[in-house]
Structure formats: structure tokens, C-alpha cells
Amino acid sequence: MMRQIGAIAFNTFKGAVHERLFYNLLIFAIVMVTGSILVASLTLGEQSKIIMDMGLASHNLFGMLIAVFLGTGLISGEIERRTIHTVLSKPVGRTTFLMGKYAGLLLTLFTNTVAITATLYVVLALHPKIDPYVKGDMLTYVEPRLLLAIYMTFLELMLLSAVALLFSTFTTATLATVFSLSTYAIGHLSGTIMTMSSKRVSLATRLLVQGVHYLFPNFSQFDIKNQVVHGVAVTPAYFGYTTGYAILYLTLLLLIASTIFSRRDLG
């Protein structure tokens, strides 16, 4: 079963890197990260912070786009093109297939993450050499804590991929994209809305907002970009809690996806 998951994951990854969408997004992200050096050189002082800000934001944004746009096509694409008949007519279980597709998407996102992270560090290391107003040598601005923010964003992308995959098991790619983007937006904003609406609204509204907040994945808690860039500490307990949250939530999503997909006709 692990070999089957591996074969399907690797094939999914291969298919993704052949897609124009993926490498266009990747190239665009790398251009953004590299281009941040220009934006930074227009400002005075703290150039490295601007580079870090833009780099982390690019990783988040493009990762999100890849997770949603590739994720929502993972199953529906195979059904539309009927490639799924070839795979599932072999001794491959439905859950195995789903895990393989999910692992393939994570592999794609990981590749994207590695490429962006590497570019970001190269840009940070080189910018004192390029910009005569920046002082310091190659290692002055190479901030290892960036990896913590990238790790958290990757957890967020894992969770978002599971959301996209779940929608992909029962609806078309277009609808799944709409649902995933909505879930992402709600999951980012619900916390803010809850704090804002604390006292002055009716109980019913408050309960509704709270319900939405606890039901939808809370995506905003993965965002520690500002803390990292501005040197604010994040406790290990917070990493532990967030990691646990992501794994629990995505396991639940994958279980539901597997239940739906196992019953589905692939005609």
C-alpha cells in the first residue's frame, strides 16, 4: 500500500510540474522574492525586513494558490479525463488513491517551499553586497527564524490542501475552488470578526459567529510572519499546539474525504 501511495504521489507531482499553472506560479513567486531587493533599496534602513516580509508573503500567497488550484482538480481532473479508471481498476483502494493524490500535492508544495526559501535566503545574503547603503557581510541578515514562519505557513498549506481535496471528492473543480477560497477567507477572518463583535451584538449573532469560528479551520493562527520579522518571541508551546491542531483537523478532513470518495460512482 505504501508503494502504491508513493507511485500515485510521484505521478501526481510529475503531472503538477508539467502543468503551466504550477511553474508559472513558481516563477512568479521567485520573481517577487528577487524583486523585493529593488523595493527594499527604495527605502531607508531595515531593508532586510522588507525583503523578509515580501518573501514570507510570497510563500504564503503562491502556496495558497497552488494548494487551491491544484488541490481542487486532484480528483475531479482524474474523473473528467477518465485516467482514474486505469488506476482504480487495479488493486488500489479508494483511500490509498486519495492518500497518494494528497501526498503528491504536498510534494509539489514542498518543492515550491524549498525553491522560495532558498531564493529568499540567497537574496538576504546578497543584498548587502548589492546595495551600498546596507552595512554588514553575507551572514548579517540571514535570519534562521524565518524557517519557523515558513514551517507554520506549510502547516497552513497542508490543512488548506486537505480542504481542497475534500471538496474535490464530491464536486467540480470550479465549485471546489469557490468553496476552498471561501473556507480560506472565512478561516482567516472569523477570529477577527469574533473579537470585534464581542459585546454589542445580539446573543444569537454572537453564537453564530462563534460557531463559524470553531467549525471552520482557523487559518490565522498559522501567521507568525510579523513576530518573526520583528524579532518577537513565539513560545514552543504555541508551535506544539498549532502543529497538533493542523494534524488533527486535516486527519478529520481526510477521513471525511475518504468516506465520501469510497461511496462515489466513478462513471
Binding site: 508503494r3 502504491q4 508513493g6 507511485a7 500515485i8 505521478n11 510529475k14 503531472g15 508539467h18 479525463r81 477518465r82 485516467t83 479508471h85 486505469t86 488506476v87 482504480l88 481498476s89 487495479k90 488493486p91 488500489v92 483502494g93 490509498t96 461511496r263 460512482d265 466513478l266 462513471g267
Partner: protein, 241 residues
């Protein structure tokens, strides 16, 4: 134990609010070692039956087994090879990569995959296209690679949905020869086709399906002896009434 057994197999599709009975209480068996031809006009339910056998869709009622295993289980498909109707495969892979992918899904070793790939590409006449991406394949070439992937695991039962469609006359003959070779090697073959002379030439058993119902089933010689006409004439007469 029969290679294939269907009992009361029924499939209803809902089209809007209406229900459409695609298969209506199908009962049949395919014994090991048989070449079984599945005939019927367009929309008769041949592909639906095959998808049910492979667990790609679920029956509304009734059941199907393959070598005794319920068809929705993965183990039922371990000794099966399948060619889908008008096949389409991952077009980012080359022919060789695709066969390797299929082999891995069956849990074959790299050595076994390598040997089978060489043998099968030769058998279906695709040696020169071994490293061509599938997106550059013609319809007939896709059909050929489809046949090759169906045989990668040296299956005991081979299910082919319209294997001759899209093949040129030589390809059709090669396909007939291949089916007879498989029969000689003791395999069971079940295929659907619209090319009745081919079916008459190579099948020992046939079933004729019309609008989801089996209207005739049996040994080819017996059917022909009883009616004193070609299978084609019989087929046209029986499917039109």
C-alpha cells in the same frame, strides 16, 4: 469457481428527477479459460456492467464477484487486467514510464516491470514509441498501450471494453491473435465489441445485451447451429425487436 459471476446485477442512474435503468437484473457467469464476448447495441449497458465488475461504480442491487471476491474489494482486482473504453492516460508520461507506473500499482519489482515492459511494447507494436510521451499518441496507439497496461501483471482474467475500436485492420488482427494467445495460456478473456465477425471468430461464449437485459447467452456454435444464420444477422434481428 467462475472467473466472473453476476447475480441480479442492477444499476439505475438518476437523470434529473427520472430514473434510468441501465442494467436490469443481470445474471451470468464466465468460467475460467473462456473467451467471452459481450454484444449489444450502443447504450445497452456493456460498459456499465464492466464498471460494476471492477468496482468503479456500485450496483443499485445485486452483486458481482471476480474469482469469488466481491467486486468492490481491491483483492478482486489483483489478478485482473482491464482496458477501458476509448482509453486516455496520463499524458505527461512516456509509454515506458506509464507501464512502470501501472506495474508499481500491482506491486511488481523493478526487474519484473522492466522485463514486462520490453515484452509488451513489442507485443503491441510500440517499441519505437517507447519513449514518446502519451500526449503525442494517436487513437490507435493509445488503444495499444492500453492493451499493454492491461497485461502488465500477467492477469488471469482480462477484461477489455471494445479492444478493437480505433485499430487499423492489422491492429485488429493482432488483437484477435493476442486474445487467442491469452486463451492458449489459460487466461480468461471477457470483452465487449461491435465487430461481430471478430466475436464470431474468437469467442466460445457470447451474451447479447439489449436495453440492460440479457436476451441471449450461450456457446457460439450452439447458437449458430440452432439458427442457421450468421451471428451478425441474428444480432441485427434480435436487437431490433
Amino acid at each position: 469457481m467462475p472467473a466472473i459471476e453476476c447475480t441480479g446485477l442492477t444499476k439505475t442512474y438518476s437523470v434529473g428527477l427520472k430514473k434510468h435503468v441501465a442494467l436490469d437484473h443481470l445474471d451470468f457467469q464466465v468460467q475460467e479459460g473462456e473467451v467471452f464476448g459481450f454484444l449489444g447495441p450502443n447504450g445497452a449497458g456493456k460498459t456499465t456492467t464492466i464498471k460494476l465488475l471492477l468496482g468503479l461504480i456500485q450496483p443499485t442491487s445485486g452483486a458481482a464477484t471476480i474469482f469469488g471476491h466481491p467486486s468492490h474489494t481491491a483483492t478482486a482486482r489483483a489478478r485482473v487486467g482491464f482496458l477501458p473504453e476509448s482509453p486516455y492516460f496520463y499524458d505527461h508520461l512516456t509509454a515506458t514510464e506509464f507501464l512502470a507506473f501501472c506495474g508499481r500499482l500491482f506491486g511488481l519489482t523493478s526487474v519484473a516491470i522492466h522485463d514486462a515492459t520490453l515484452r509488451l511494447l513489442k507485443q503491441v507494436g510500440l517499441e519505437e514509441a517507447a519513449h514518446t510521451p502519451l500526449r503525442k499518441f494517436s487513437k490507435g496507439m493509445l488503444q495499444r498501450i492500453g492493451i499493454a497496461q492491461a497485461l502488465i501483471n500477467d492477469p488471469q482474467l482480462v477484461i477489455l471494453d471494445e479492444p478493437m475500436s480505433g485499430l487499423d485492420p492489422i491492429g485488429r488482427k493482432d488483437c484477435r491473435d493476442l486474445i487467442l494467445q491469452l486463451k492458449q495460456a489459460g487466461k480468461t478473456i471477457c470483452f465487449s465489441s461491435h465487430i461481430i465477425p471478430d466475436v464470431e471468430m474468437i469467442c466460445d461464449h457470447i451474451a447479447i445485451l439489449v436495453k440492460g437485459k440479457l436476451i441471449r447467452m450461450g456457446r457460439v456454435e450452439e447458437i449458430l447451429d440452432a439458427h442457421q444464420e450468421t451471428l451478425e444477422a441474428l444480432f441485427i434481428r434480435e436487437t431490433q425487436t
